[in-house]
Amino acid sequence: MTKKKPYELTQSQKMMVFVLSMSLYGLSNMFTELLPSVKLGFLELSVEYFAFIPLTLCILFHPLYAAIGASLGEIIFGELMLGQFGGIGEVEKFITFSLGMYIAGILVRNPLNRMQVSVAVMSGLLVHHLLALMVDIGKVWVGVEELEAVPGLAESIVLIEGVAFLNDLLFSGILFALLPTLYLVPRLYGKIEPLLGMKPRNNKVQYSLGEIVTPKLVIVGVILAAIAVVAEFMSEADMNIAEWEFDFLGMFGDSFIWVVIGAAAFIASLTIWIMRRKAKDQKQIWGVHHEE
């Protein structure tokens, strides 16, 4: 075990961050699941989620554990316990949300720098919502047989999803992610860490790069891919919505579905592989002795 890295948590401390993030974000998720939403025409004033909780924790502590903890918390409290677990659909949410939060966390180097925190929060949200947007539109496209045959349907869906995206990013995003995070991070910095028996993240020392390189590569890859797909998608959509639908299906036929599933399966197995590798590392650490 290499010691004396600038910011490294022991395995138990990572577990604490994980448990904290899981339970609190899970709790908030139960409330947001139940809060009624207000619809004002196009604008749906709903509270998508209290993303400020995982965001704050990602910024203050170890981003990976806080992010995964939050996603798992959402599944356990917001879905499983309410008996509305979406099964496979949750995998997608798990990945996009964890990614978004994680990215926000690694972007911040000084938690007291408001500008940095704001940029990080918005980037994290952007990644999450953009991926979610693609998946949502993709779902309708796979699910509805004669989408192109009905006038106005495809446009409506893109419009609705687009507005929802903007709403999530700009309305819920600013109100329930950015502002509370800006309020909480400076107040908690230096105060919550001792309660977990750790030192605050040093805002002068750079983050140890070795630790984030591998997941970072994966993330960058996924983001690039995502942006690529969206760009493709958008350019086609601009030209003729009815046509791209037709063209795609024409080109690949029904078999295209399997491409999508294949991609999803790939991402899923990648995640599981990473998680298992982590678990193995953990076993070794726990088996021998603690770091430090």
Binding site: L27, L34, L80, G87, E145, V150, G152, L153, W286
Partner: protein
């Protein structure tokens, strides 16, 4: 004033708290709950995914009927069904409304209707499975399927800790209320009150985060003294944890009956056209 306070009582934190607890813990002893969790997961893997790729209306209707039956068997809480229905219906209505602007009409609702049926089948399948499955058994099933032991622990721990967390949240929420000041008037469409409560809801997480940090430290410390990390090094322990699960006649029966039903529905689908 009286009506207002009675509404308030109905939708108080206390009410939501109770309703949530009832949903989370009131699974009861149904036929489905006694099945092997792995059987339910295999079952779900079909009914949760296959509908996406089925466009035959007869088959979809057949599956929907089946899912309604299993949902009733699972004795799902009405709250969940209401949330599901309003979600699905709201979406379709809104879509209809929007598509009017693009020159669409009633006909645009029809394909969406079948999408909704699809979504309903999938959602009901997951409701059936996950509301009747004991959380720990679900966690253990995941463990037996190779997920890390932290995941299965977290699920069980979530169930253990939820009431404590809610209680604490409730107390803190009350602290803000008892020491704060509610707006004098509710404002247009209650907006002042809504803003007041939303604000409390958000700021309540400041003390909760700090208290939670304290709590999770003890929790992890206790995990350590209870040998949880020891278990992670020992594959024998994992086997013991999942040893109680076994396929029984009822599991095979349930899967076979479902399979036969699906065969019949697919056959019907190829014969009858809607």
């Amino acid at each position: 004033m009286n009506e207002v306070s009675s509404i308030r009582e109905k939708f108080s934190v206390e009410f939501v708290k109770e309703e949530l607890l009832r949903t989370a813990y009131g699974n009861g002893d149904t036929f489905l709950a006694r099945l092997d969790p792995r059987a339910l997961i295999y079952w779900y893997l079909f009914f949760g995914i296959a509908p996406w790729f089925i466009h035959n209306k007869m088959i979809l209707s057949g599956l929907l009927v089946f899912m309604v039956v299993t949902t009733v068997m699972a004795r799902t809480s009405p709250l969940i069904i209401i949330i599901l229905c309003t979600g699905l219906l709201g979406e379709i209505a809104f879509l209809f409304f929007i598509s009017l602007f693009f020159g669409g009409g009633f006909e645009s609702v029809l394909p969406m209707f079948w999408l909704t049926v699809k979504l309903a089948v999938i959602s009901l399948a997951s409701i059936t499975v996950f509301s009747s499955m004991d959380p720990e058994r679900f966690g253990d099933a995941l463990l037996s399927m190779g997920l890390p032991s932290q995941v299965s622990f977290s699920i069980a721990f979530g169930y253990r800790t939820l009431p404590t967390l809610m209680e604490e949240f409730h107390q803190i929420f009350l602290s803000y209320r008892l020491r704060g000041k509610a707006p004098d008037s509710h404002g247009f469409l209650y907006w002042r009150s809504i803003v007041y409560f939303m604000k409390i809801l958000v700021v309540s997480f400041y003390p909760l985060l700090l208290n939670g940090a304290k709590r999770s430290r003890t929790t992890v410390e206790a995990l350590e003294t209870k040998g949880f990390s020891y278990a992670a090094t020992d594959s024998k322990v994992k086997k013991m944890k999942i040893s109680y699960m076994s396929f029984k006649w009822s599991d095979y029966g349930f899967l076979t009956a479902s399979f036969l039903y699906v065969v019949v529905v697919f056959w019907l689908g190829s014969v009858v056209q809607i």
